[in-house]
């Protein structure tokens, strides 16, 4: 049975599945990359290094989309979509919550992220969440994550 998730269930799913995909428009079409997010009540915080993603976010800051999914089987899955607006923030504001996230994200991601986030050119960003929706194939799926 597929059902829609309540907003709070969507937020819980994003918190427990911090590895999502960030999609943004570019001048040549849509672009998406996997991303670790620090989920806050109305924002998703992340960092990025200079490149296509950052330049596209700066050029097209509105209508950014984030996708999270967890698929155990065809009858047990959760999918959450969120749209929002991109904005840059200071290292002072976001470095601590991001490092706290990386500390719980597994050795591989933690090591990569710790190395990158300390680079001087790391840019700290957040998505101001707008519309958030989600679906689950099992009424209990979101709670079991």
């Amino acid at each position: 049975m597929i059902r829609a998730l309540a907003p709070e269930e969507c937020r819980q799913a994003m918190t427990r599945l911090p590895h999502g995909r960030l999609a943004v428009m570019t001048d040549h079409g849509p672009y998406a990359v996997p991303m670790l997010f620090a989920v806050q009540p109305s924002t998703l915080a992340f960092y990025t290094l200079p490149g296509r993603l950052l330049s596209s976010l700066r050029r097209h800051p509105l209508g950014v989309m984030v996708e999270f999914d967890w698929i155990e089987s065809s009858s047990h899955w959760v999918s959450v979509l969120a749209t929002g607006e991109f904005e840059e923030r200071s290292r002072h504001e976001l470095e601590a919550p991001l490092l706290a996230l990386f500390a719980t994200s597994g050795a591989l991601f933690a090591r990569i992220a710790r190395e990158q986030v300390r680079q001087p050119e790391a840019t700290f960003c957040q998505i101001m969440l707008g519309q958030v929706s989600g679906r689950a194939a099992d009424p209990e799926a979101a709670r079991r994550l």
């Binding site: 079409g29 849509p30 155990e72 999918s79």
Partner: protein, 148 residues
């Protein structure tokens, strides 16, 4: 970070599931990204879809379609992004080949897509398939990265 070679990307796309279809929602002027079950055949990604926002977006902007796949095994993480143009698969031969590819890829899998499920009867299976549209992304560009 390293760039993935073409052979590595094709090998990962052959086995990985699901992928995320990346489209442009013209009505909202924003990207739209949803997970789908897929198979890679002869340079194209095939998937089933039912009428809705995804199919509308694909039809509205068929030249601006992407496909993202990522994964990790605890030691290596990787990400692949394909882009190209969308087409609806009308040819019975192509549709049959892609369906066979999808069934082979997902046979016995716990994540078999909903269209592959049935009550066990041939009629149910055919009903599921004919109720859905088959789409394909003709890949024109493929890039991938790996982190160790």
């Amino acid at each position: 970070m390293e760039k993935l070679e073409l052979e590595e990307m094709l090998a990962l796309l052959a086995v990985e599931r699901p992928g995320r279809l990346l489209t442009v929602d013209r009505q909202r002027d924003e990207p739209y990204l949803v997970p789908v079950s897929f198979v890679l055949l002869a340079g194209s990604i095939y998937f089933y879809t039912e009428p809705g926002r995804k199919l509308t977006a694909l039809r509205d902007a068929p030249q601006q379609v992407g496909f993202e796949v990522d994964g990790h095994d605890g030691y290596v993480a990787w990400s692949i992004l394909a882009s190209g143009h969308f087409a609806e698969v009308r040819s019975p031969v192509e549709r049959a080949a892609a369906t066979a590819g999808l069934l082979t890829k997902y046979r016995g899998s716990a994540v078999a897509p909903i269209w592959a499920r049935s009550d066990g009867s041939l009629a149910s299976f055919v009903r599921n398939l004919t109720a859905a549209e088959m789409g394909t992304l003709r890949i024109t560009r493929l890039s991938g990265r790996r982190w160790r």
